[in-house]
């Protein structure tokens, strides 16, 4: 019964704030090109989907985000593993990695357009660059965090380095890797949108920019709405995978508990 009331209250709160927004915009006659009423945003959303325009750009942005995410996190994971396991790799490469990390990756976007053009390739590369670091750092930390007692146990069993990696270090690093994926997914979406701002032939980011030039503010609002929902859904996907993979992790159980309370 408590759950029912919470849901009812949430819906009520949402509806009344939308209503208040609509009323305020109408009462003060705020021009649509400054701040559109929700009804105008809804209409823009409808028009966009009815004409098939939004689907096309949404597909493009999603494709960039997912490809860039996969590429960037795979690279981050493998390089993180190499750095964590090999002292030479760490010694020679890590300073550059740190230098590169402190650089805002979105600042590279114009260069990448120069090198790779306006096509999908350039946006995927930009997205991958942004998604790369959370995985690199988290994989490194995770692989090194194996507890000394567990290492001693494996050593006492005469386990090879290979076995220690597969049976202990890697599963032990998974909570860190999953946390990295969580961040990387959100970063990937940001990377994709920035890449589209800088130069692209399609995508929701490009759409926002062209709407901006045309003073189509309600259109921009509707795309922002789509983007926030996409971000939320992508995050949920990672969360679902995380729950499956980390069923044994105590912090994961705490999270579940918290979410249950929040609901």
């Amino acid at each position: 019964m408590k759950g029912f009331w919470n849901v009812a209250l949430t819906i009520l709160l949402f509806c009344s704030s939308i209503l208040a927004w609509e009323l305020i915009v109408r009462a003060f006659e705020i021009p649509t090109f400054i701040f559109p009423a929700p009804s105008k945003v809804a209409m823009a959303l409808w028009r966009g989907f009815a004409s098939g325009l939004y689907q096309k750009h949404l597909y493009y942005t999603l494709l960039e985000t997912v490809l860039g995410f996969l590429l960037g996190s795979a690279l981050g994971f493998f390089l993180g593993t190499a750095v964590a396991l090999n002292r030479y790799v760490e010694y020679f490469f890590y300073p550059y990695i740190v230098m590169f990390q402190s650089l805002p990756k979105v600042a590279l976007a114009p260069l990448i357009v120069v090198w790779f053009g306006l096509g999908l390739k350039s946006q995927v590369i930009n997205t991958a660059l942004v998604a790369f670091f959370p995985l690199l750092v988290n994989t490194m930390v995770g692989l090194r965090s194996a507890d000394e007692d567990r290492m001693n146990l494996m050593r006492s069993l005469a386990a090879s380095e290979n076995q220690i990696f597969w049976m202990l270090r890697l599963p032990n690093a998974l909570p860190f890797v999953m946390a990295g994926l969580d961040v990387a997914m959100i970063f990937a979406l940001i990377g994709a949108i920035v890449a589209e701002f800088v130069g692209a032939r399609a995508g929701l980011g490009m759409l926002i920019q062209s709407m901006n030039f045309n003073m189509d503010v309600s259109g921009q609002f509707s795309v922002l709405l789509i983007l926030s929902i996409v971000g939320l859904l992508l995050n949920r996907c990672i969360l679902l995978i995380r729950r499956r993979v980390l069923f044994w992790d105590p912090s994961e159980k705490e999270r579940l508990e918290r979410e249950r309370i929040a609901l």
Binding site: D149, R150, R155, A158, L174, W248, P250
Partner: protein, 256 residues
């Protein structure tokens, strides 16, 4: 026949302020099926000794022979139980028990029944599909004991295995360990800082003193088995505890 022969064993650690003499000229022998307890205050080098026996720490001098061959590195015929259970949370109880089988590629099929028998020996029937976080501390340590026995090692090394448990569980586990030992007759080296635990469990108690860690006494405990917990109140029990404690007091150490 002797299973373990420790000869002139020394271990030095080098630290910033010179070298620390952790173990000095340790000598002892362990016969097949014997239960040995090593008792001493913290910092007397008990854990160092165990790590050398387990082959995960090289000695500075001397050697340890296990069934005639020198221990130079980790071996497959040793089972170790650490102070904490050290279970892998991503493995179920059964998978944790089978870890040595996986590492040493002994074949899961052949060991499944062994694992189930051992689990039932330690009183964990029906828990094989559970995960470590679903078990109490005492149960987790039972899983660790099962894991140490799964590959039928020549010797079982236990490093204060019940030190992290509450007093009641600890007594219970001492009884259980005695029962398991009476049934399997494994050679056990059991490290503890509790004198009464050592006397209750062991055939022989090696008394260690620190800085440098060396064996000061080797006490035969001639109390008949199975020993009940009440044995601790029996007149034959007290002299052992008393004489061991006396050894520490003579060295100027508060009892351990």
């Amino acid at each position: 026949m002797e299973v373990i022969a420790v000869k002139e064993l020394s271990k030095r650690y080098s630290s910033r302020d010179g070298s620390v003499h952790a173990l000095q000229e340790i000598n002892f022998k362990v016969s097949e099926g014997e239960f040995i307890a090593v008792v001493g205050p913290s910092g007397c080098g008990k854990s160092t000794l165990l790590k050398i026996l387990a082959g995960i720490l090289p000695p500075s001098n001397g050697e340890v022979r296990l069934r005639g061959t020198s221990i130079t590195g980790p071996r497959r015929d040793i089972g170790v139980v650490f102070q904490s259970p050290v279970l892998f949370p991503w493995r179920s109880v059964l998978d944790n028990v089978l870890l040595p089988v996986d590492v040493q590629r002994l074949g899961r099929d052949g060991h499944l029944k062994v694992a189930m028998d051992l689990l039932s020996l330690v009183g964990l029937d029906g828990f094989e599909r559970r995960y470590p976080w679903e078990l109490s501390g005492g149960m987790q340590q039972r899983v660790a004991i099962t894991r140490a026995l799964i590959h039928d090692p020549a010797i079982l090394l236990m490093d204060e295995p019940f030190g992290a448990l509450d007093a009641m569980t600890r007594e219970q586990m001492n009884l259980e360990l005695q029962r398991i030992w009476l049934e399997r007759r494994k050679t056990v080296i059991f490290i503890t800082h509790s004198i009464s635990e050592a006397v209750f469990l062991a055939d022989r108690v090696l008394v260690m003193t620190p800085r440098p860690g060396c064996i000061m006494d080797d006490v035969q405990v001639k109390i008949p088995r199975p020993r009940a917990l009440e044995a601790m109140n029996f007149p034959e029990f007290a002299p052992y505890v008393h004489s061991i404690r006396g050894r520490f007091n003579a060295k100027g150490m508060i009892d351990a």
